[in-house]
């Protein structure tokens, strides 16, 4: 899980073009200025590319915070 978080942090920093970003399980879009409905998809896409996974509509709608996204990623890569 830590590995997932490490990789996610890098992805966040790249997508939002901000090397100072840190993420926690409770982090939501409200906590990161650059994260809005427009950049949200860039993030999802980058996560899919970097982890080599694919989300479906249902899963993406479910994430309430970064922790839930990480859990979903973890599940998919251990399949």
């Amino acid at each position: 899980m830590d590995k997932v978080f490490e990789k996610l942090t890098d992805i966040f920093r790249e997508v939002f073009d901000n090397p100072a970003i840190t993420i926690k399980p409770e982090t939501t879009a409200d906590d990161i200025e650059e994260w809005d409905s427009l950049t949200h998809m860039n993030l999802i896409l980058m996560v899919e590319l970097k982890f080599g996974i694919e989300f479906n509509q249902r899963e993406v709608m479910r994430f309430q915070n970064v922790g839930e996204m990480a859990a979903c990623i973890q599940e998919k890569i251990s399949d």
């Binding site: 409905s37 427009l38 999802i44 249902r58």
Partner: protein, 530 residues
Amino acid sequence: MKKCIHNFNIHILLIVIITFSTFFGLFIPKGHVGSAEKITNFSINEYLKLPRFELNNSIYLYYGFAFLVVVVFYLLPKKWQWLWLLMASYFFLALWEIYFLIILIAVTVFVFYFGLKIDSFKKDEKKAKKNLLLGLLVCTAFIFSLKYFPRLFIEVKQTILIPLGLSYYVLQGISYLVDVYASKIEAEKHFGVFAVYMGFFPRLFVGPIERANQFISQIRGGIKFDNQNIADGTVRLFWGLLKKVVLVNRLVVVYRAVFLKSARLSPIELWIGVFLSGFYIYFDFSAFTDIAIGIGKMLGIESTENFYHPYLATSITDFWRRWHISLSQWLRDYIFTPLNFASRRANAIISQSFNIFVTFLISGIWHGNSAIYIFWGGVHGLLQSLEISFLQLKKRGFKRYGRKERNYHVINVLITYIIVNLTWVLFLSNSLENAVRIYKTLFSGGLTLSINFILLGLQKADFIMMIIFITFFMSLEILEELLKHNILIALQKQVLVIRWVIYLSFLFILIIFGYYGANFVKFDPIYMQF
């Protein structure tokens, strides 16, 4: 064999529903637009000789009703509070039109049923999706047949009896079904509590559009009495009343002069009239929202805010983050984001621009049942598409040249403000011809500087009064924006003496400066038509 019959039944049921609602939609009561004030002059309640809460009745009667609901609410044991709210809401709706209540109950039952069905198929993706689609289809069928379909068959001069709150609770139903499907929330097992979510009476007029878990989690366990809630809620309620009586009642006169009476106005007068109509729609909508939120607060229920200084927005995109926020969030979560997700592999600028355009076309459709609303929605969608594209290019440009973004804040606010008010012309005109006529006059370049206030419908004294109050309310907003504090919350934090001085002065202003013309008791917010 059993499965086949089960599926067969669902499909038959659906065909029956759609056919029924379509034909019913064709035959629903229609009235003639006799005067500009009435939405319809036909009433089923009157026809059936039932008591009726007339549109003309005093807004104070509504307040009285709300206070009664609040008092009894806290006298009841917690486990019956939901029942009281449900009874009060249904009683209220029945007083308007019994037909409105029937439709609300029907939609509530369907959404509740499909919510449970979707939940029961948590492991079976296919069945869950099928039930979601069926549920969404039913919601769309209701809103389409009762709001849009009849319009295709009746003349422009006629109006139709659209169930009060239909547009709002159908959106709530859709959000609920999608959230259950995405497992964001569990399907509600308690029909009564769910029914309160759908038909909570303060939200029937202008929303806000609430999410199921936000509302239900608050009322499920019952609500404890808290002095502060009553105080805050009452203040909010009277804030809305103040706005309505001293400002909206005057602004509506100007709005009618400009848009309903096609007065012969000079370009300058028309510009003033357009901006004042922009204030009309804002203060009218926000006043009724204040009232809805205030009543909720008195009952200890938090609602989503619907406005955040919309006329201080720096772009059209920013405007929609500040205007009708609950709708914007609904559109974002249930239209825009799913579209974005589906198109995420395509070029970001092109697909997002297209998606925002489509989203706002849908917003336009939701707002009204005639072409001009769709056009208005499309214009806002197009403007935001341009902003998105421009924003992306600007970001890249700045990076390349290492420039810092200069602060063009005030200019952006002014430009946005002017554009938004110009688009309100589309929204408020009842036809494209009228809108074009107004635009032509606005830009015709006539240089007469004399302003005939009478043409705008108000006496000079009232006109000045109106300008003073606009300045008052907008100054408070600018202050709130700069200090990032909420005025009403700050008010509550003051010492008792100061608070009461302010309350009494508001009461004084209400009584002395309230506009009590012919429209004083009109209970007719413009957003109630949607």
